[in-house]
Amino acid sequence: MERSSPTGGMAASPALSPALPSASPPAFAPALAPALAPIPRPAGRLLRWNNWQAALLVFVVGMPPAIALLPPAFSFWVAAALAVLLAATLVVNAWGRHTGGLLVAPALALLFVMNIYPLLWSFGLSFFNYRANRMKQPTFVGLQNYANVITDPVVWDRLHTTAIMVVLTVSVQMVIGFLLALLFSKQFPLRRYLMILVLTPMMLSFVAVGAFFRYYYEPSLGLLSQFVRLFTGEPYVLMQSVWGARAGIILADAWMWSPFVMLLVLAGLVSVPKYLYEAAAIDRAPAWRRMWSITLPYIRGLLLLALLFRTIEAFKLFDVVFLLTEGGPGTATETIAVYVYRVAFQYVKTSESTALTYILLFTVIVLTNLYLYLANRRIKEA
């Protein structure tokens, strides 16, 4: 991997310098001294820029008093400064030797600071009794929050609602998406432009879609109500009944995401070899047989991926529900994501909500793992 530099003779190799202190870390193989690491290492100096061990020591020793003594808003910045120091020394140390590590480190560091660390922190919080709007010191309660959440019938009810919505919306999307894909599977004039019209909803904002459908379901002006009134003569209020509200949300979500399934199925249809259809035509195989025995086996993998991906996404169903019904009528459309939002920010049961989120997190990670396994298998087969 590493090649000796063209200027290898000039780069002073630390191992060859006579007074190498025993305390400093052992230098790497001198023959491979890379071009980009000509860091001078004067004997005995502790404050070298690549001395990451010293920086780590400062970090570990400095953090607890900083957190304990300083006010929170200030200790955060001290911690950040110490972390930057540690990062800088690590970078200088790795420069030219661990290219892969250096390339991915900034991204991983940001992800860790802004995503993984908060998640770990909330994991810790889920073992405490903490409410964000109280001044009281949080007390350790062990697994109490998890026990509360699992035995709470309300949580199970919301999970039940979510399951209903996920199953219905994903199956509607799969069917509509599949039919759309069949429609667009052949080349015809203006295909590219017509396809854009179908693909657009997928790229729209949940908020915009929520607002659209709120307008369409509106009892007096809404197009749906006007359409029904043509036949019944009465204004039609969709969002008042339990199943009406659910159907409204499912319609909006399915409208938005059927094109996603269509895209994946189209990708599968392209991969079916043409000669199979020609052979089937010679054998006079009926259309359903061609579909069942030729098309389906070829697109099965992608259908499964679409199903999984949409299940993961539908499981998170929040924005559309939040804008269309806010969980109503009653709690008929309150999905688990909306419920967590309520527990965390309206009832302010902070630590209980973190326990709930860990149940969601676990589910999503399992599904994502399955999805990636299948996606990778497909790449390897190709």
Partner: protein, 314 residues
């Protein structure tokens, strides 16, 4: 051996310069695949029109006058007016009240700035990381990539609770720095996976040749790999912009009055403020949607990869 020519998909992604005009317009199908004729076009036209109708109706509503919006039965033909668009930015809140600034100019500005900056930062960090993951696999490379994708797949509500508490402690809530940092993190997994999928497609031969000729790692990256994935970079950036532009929950909880983005302002407009002034809401939505629709057209060839975060290429 020397395949410096760009991959065909990259060219097609940039608009398909190599394809004759008639075929690009779809008026004549590319050789040998025009199996279905104008009959299919008619059928697809009807279906597409029905499918696109909700968007079209909103755009039409935006151009209606106050009375036309309230008309029952709904009017398909009317005299278009720009009143709604004017009122998005400044209007009187009560009958014969003083005309006031609604703040939507600021919200649009916020949306644009926040999306642009966070996508730019994520693109720089993510492209380096993707190149690292693609060309210098670490121990446990797949595990890192899995964790990265998982953070993106998590429900936003799971991530937002701890972030909300931390932002409150550190005073980052409601600041540009906070929301931009959060959106950068939100875009990063997507950028890494997308760019990795583009880097993985490049032929390693050219890089090896350059290395044998004595190019440094940095030179290989900037002079050979990067120019080949420019179309991919553009697609990733645009997708990131759309995702950030559309994002709602993070912005709802973490943006302050000064840093509010359009989706949040739009949701609040539905909630109270103007009640049933659907024409006004439609105008806000139209302004908000049109960039997305235009961009979707430009991105058509990369849509599949984009919506699956680069896990499915074709």
């Amino acid at each position: 051996m020397f395949k410096l020519a760009l991959p065909r998909s990259a060219i097609a992604g940039a608009g398909g310069a190599a394809i004759p005009l008639l075929e690009r317009l779809g008026l004549r199908a590319a050789s040998g695949v025009g199996e279905a004729g104008w009959g299919r076009t008619a059928l697809a036209g009807v279906v597409s029109f029905l499918y696109f109708f909700p968007v079209l109706w909103i755009i039409l509503t935006a151009f209606k006058s106050y009375d036309d919006v309230l008309a029952v039965p709904a009017k398909f033909f009317f005299t278009p007016t720009l009143d709604n668009f004017r009122q998005v930015f400044s209007r009187a809140y009560s009958v014969q009240g003083q005309v006031q600034d609604t703040g939507f100019a600021l919200f649009f500005f916020n949306s644009i700035v926040i999306a642009t900056v966070s996508v730019a930062v994520a693109l720089v960090l993510g492209t380096f990381a993707a190149f690292g993951f693609s060309r210098y696999p670490l121990k446990g490379n797949d595990t890192y990539l899995f964790i990265i994708l998982s953070t993106r797949m998590l429900p936003a509500i799971v991530v937002i609770i701890p972030i909300f508490l931390m932002f409150r402690i550190t005073g980052l809530a409601g600041t540009y720095l906070g929301i931009i940092a959060l959106y950068t993190t939100f875009n990063l997994p997507f950028t890494i996976w997308m760019m990795k999928s583009f880097f993985d497609e490049l032929s390693p031969d050219v890089e090896d040749a350059a290395r044998i000729d004595g190019s440094s790692d940095a030179r290989v990256f900037f002079k050979i790999c990067l120019p080949q994935v420019v179309a991919g970079l553009a697609a990733t950036a645009v997708f990131g912009l759309i995702l950030t532009w559309n994002e709602f929950l993070f912005a709802l909880l973490l943006s302050g009055v000064e840093t509010r983005t359009v989706p949040v302002a739009m949701a609040q407009t539905i909630g109270g403020d103007i009640g049933v002034r659907w024409g006004l809401l439609a105008a806000i939505e139209t302004l908000f949607l049109v960039p997305v629709i235009i961009v979707t057209f430009a991105l058509q060839n990369q849509l599949l990869r984009g919506v699956t975060f680069g896990t499915i290429k074709r």
